[in-house]
Symmetry: C2
């Protein structure tokens, strides 16, 4: 590995945000999953949760331009169980979901441990997953169409999370626990 | 048409931004084009420019969840010609393009007449199109992957444009010239 490459890996590791993640509730189109994983890498998410029994790893890998090499993809058969596990670890669940109690996406605090939950292409967030969420969040739209593409919606909200975390200095020092760093560096460096 | 529906069409028309547009430089995957057109509708763009000789209208229509019904899609065989035409009408061309002179996407002024130029999935913005642009713009990334999916990048920048335009009051009064309104309402109402 060249020194430049090693430096790039270190810089990226130093910006990872262990207390920010995304949960995809039965999002199933490979190009959407790929775009989501790619955005997760870009905002510093190290672990993403894909909840869907039928994800094909292969197609994900090709399409995400290699981003699933840099982001740990955890698969779950059940969204509610995955959300419960995250809640037990202290994460708030923010469901991107159109309801009366939904808040504007600028209003939420993304500097605390939180997981953005996005819904499937056709059906959106399931009622059970919406129920378990701590907050519902929407991106206001000015047009006729009712929703954004799911990978677009995820990116808009994650970029707001990044903006808040940048302002709070959360990208300025390494936040991955020291004992976990060598393992990630090893996997990144020697695939 | 129900009164509610008519009201929704009026509200949408009143928020359209005739001096904001997007130019896609040989973006060719139907799901990306569809997601882009859908985002354009959501931020109030009425006319979008797709530059590519080989776009298949049919696949676009199915995938954009009907958003090409609400947004006028102009097709061009040549990106540079399309950009020149917009420049002659007073638009600044902002190319989303990785160069040394590129500015952070928060730094540009999107309240003036402007067109966001995005590049193709593989090759990005062509050198000729980059050359004719007034500004180059980038979204900083914290990860290992070099670029966002094109529809994601377009949405991130267009949402910043929307934020600025909202702050400037540009969604508060109808900005489509009066003589053009009946035609749009007719096409929307009786497809
Ligand atoms: C295509 S949308 C699902 C649409 C579905 N028909 C519904 O009504 O929920 C896929 C997912 O993208 C996210 N999404 C899309 N547009 C959004 C918006 N304006 N605000 C918040 N989330 C949005 C939500 O998580 C949604 O479940
Ligand atoms: C997948 S990228 C093209 C990547 C291509 N290999 C390159 O180097 O230009 C497709 C388009 O998305 C836009 N894009 C993606 N990530 C961007 C970023 N971080 N900043 C600005 N534009 C971006 C650009 O318009 C780009 O041409």
């Amino acid at each position: 590995m060249t020194p430049d490459r090693y430096q790039k890996l270190c810089t990226t590791l130093n910006r990872r945000q262990p207390d920010l993640t995304l949960l995809a509730d039965e999002v199933h189109k490979p190009h959407n999953l790929a775009a989501i994983v790619r955005t997760c890498d870009a905002v510093g998410i190290q672990t993403v949760h894909l909840c869907n029994p039928n994800i094909r790893e292969r197609s994900l890998r090709g399409r995400s331009m290699g981003s699933s090499r840099w982001v740990d993809v955890e698969k779950h058969a059940n969204t509610v169980e995955a959300a419960k596990t995250l809640k037990a670890k202290g994460f708030k669940i923010y469901a991107a979901h159109f309801t009366d109690q939904a808040k504007h996406y600028h209003e939420l605090d993304y500097t605390i441990p939180c997981a953005l939950l996005v819904g499937s292409e056709k059906r959106g967030v399931s009622p059970e997953a919406a129920e378990i969420a701590d907050e519902h969040v929407i991106i206001p739209m000015q047009g006729m169409v009712q929703s954004f593409n799911v990978s677009v919606a995820a990116a808009i909200i994650l970029m707001e999370a990044q903006r808040q975390r940048q302002a709070a200095g959360l990208y300025d020092q390494c936040r991955i626990p020291e004992e976990l760093r060598p393992d990630i560096m090893f996997r990144w460096g020697y695939p």
